[in-house]
């Protein structure tokens, strides 16, 4: 890489990380600041000052990291330059995370006590998968079609024995699809509804379903990618598919990107798009602050029956590490990787 390209790539990565840290306080629910449940008065007053200071640290760190990367990418640099660049990027991440932890500690002094009163709606909510079971089963249908085609054209694969690994990859794809489907189902059924009625409840439900839809679409993406890669081995399909994989995945990627933008706009649980008066019945995300570890990165609460809880550091949901079901799910996520390592590589 030349001096210019090194500097450009590293600057881009650092700026991206800084932007992410900059936007982080905006991701959470309106009454949660730096992973702490705080009163509205603090959000409108001292919280703003805290956010400004936090962002000042983040951008100062990013500016220092860019300056350092420009110095290190000078043409006279040593062969160790790549490692030094990575160290600069990692250093910038550490500064961002440290700023977050500092702000988290500051916010904790204003934390609202976790109440012992709890409310829930007696109306059953929709826990079905978006698009229904047939749509959710789509990735399996894609993989099955690829397997049938591969079997039908197996005699046209140039080198003998290759079809075995191709079927292996399709089986791996089925495992991945099963994994994303399990995550989608558990997310749909094992998350807590915090807002009990009105617009706030509807917004929260919409937000949850969008997360589930994203997971289902990830399953589609994996199935399409693996099917296309395996079918490329057959010359007849290889000519058609060659170079078109990115194009095939583009709509899915754009759709998921659109959902991510939408989530940024509506905030965690869809609550930033809701009128404050609609949110008054529910404070925070119904999890105690003390159960959040490392500035809101991990949630550990044995007495909480929820497997998934709303993330306090970023979008979407995170696992309750104090629940055995969460460990089971994590084990399942590693299963496809383990299978691939044992049988494919």
């Amino acid at each position: 890489m030349t001096f210019d390209s090194w500097a450009m790539v590293i600057t881009f990565v650092i700026a991206f990380h800084a932007l992410l840290f900059h936007a982080m306080p905006r991701f959470s629910r309106p009454d949660i600041l730096f992973a702490v449940t705080v009163p509205d008065a603090f959000v409108a007053g001292g919280g703003r000052t805290l956010i400004s200071r936090y962002r000042a640290i983040v951008w100062t760190g990013a500016a220092a990291a860019v300056a350092l990367s420009v110095l290190l990418s000078a043409p006279s640099g040593s062969e160790q330059r790549g490692w030094l660049m990575m160290a600069v990027v990692a250093g910038n991440l550490i500064v961002g995370l440290s700023a977050w932890l500092w702000a988290h500690r500051q916010a904790r002094t204003h934390a609202l006590p976790h109440g012992d009163a709890r409310v829930a709606s007696l109306v059953p909510r929709d826990t079905s998968l978006p698009g229904g079971a047939l749509f959710a089963g789509g990735p399996f249908a894609i993989l099955l079609t690829a397997a049938v085609l591969l079997y039908a054209y197996s005699d046209r694969i140039p080198e003998g024995g290759r079809e075995t690994s191709a079927f292996g990859w399709l089986a791996f794809g089925a495992l991945c699809a099963a994994m994303t489907l399990t995550l989608a189902v558990s997310l749909s059924r094992r998350t807590r509804q915090i807002a009990v009625d009105g617009m706030a409840a509807a917004a929260e439900q919409r937000f949850r379903r969008m997360n589930v839809l994203m997971l289902v679409l990830v399953g589609y993406g994996m199935a399409i990618m693996i099917s296309a890669v395996t079918l490329e081995k057959v010359p007849a399909f290889g000519d058609v598919l060659s170079g078109r994989l990115g194009f095939m995945l583009l709509p899915l990627m754009l759709f998921n990107f659109g959902i991510a933008i939408w989530m940024f706009r509506v905030g965690q649980g869809g609550q930033r798009a809701v009128d404050p008066s609609e949110r008054q019945k529910a404070r925070g995300d119904a999890t105690p602050d003390h159960a959040w570890k490392v500035g809101g990165l991990f949630y550990f609460n044995r007495s909480d029956p929820a497997i998934w809880v709303e993330n306090r550091l970023g979008f979407g949901y995170t696992l309750n590490m104090g629940h055995s079901g969460a460990w089971l799910l994590m084990g399942m996520m590693f299963l496809p990787m383990l299978a691939a390592t044992l049988f494919l590589f």
């Binding site: 109306v123 009990v196 009625d197």
Partner: protein, 131 residues
Amino acid sequence: MPGAPLVSINLQSSTPVYRQIASDLRRHLVEERLKPGDLLPPIRQLALDLGVHFNTVALAYRMLADEGWLELKRRRGAAVIARNAPRAVDRRHVDHLLRQLGHLAAELRSAGMTPRQITAALQRIAQGARS
């Protein structure tokens, strides 16, 4: 979901949580905010929303099923059923409740309410009027 019937609990209360849940449910049933045919959330879902063990909710549902208000549905929660047939009166249970009502009436008198006010309030409650 405007005006959805709610269940609320307080973990600090001396009343066991399953009784608090059953009590709220019973109030909605008596006041006909939950009508025959209405479905209640599955046990696990309600337990999740309230942050309690699912056995606690199961106990409350079972209690109301024993009273003839609910029909339990496997994996689908419970359905409110018509409770037309008069049930055999459990004299001991009624006596126990009346004793509790007596204690409450005494507490209300001690808090400054007149017997007339207590009677009016009880009448309102018995007729299912919301306060």
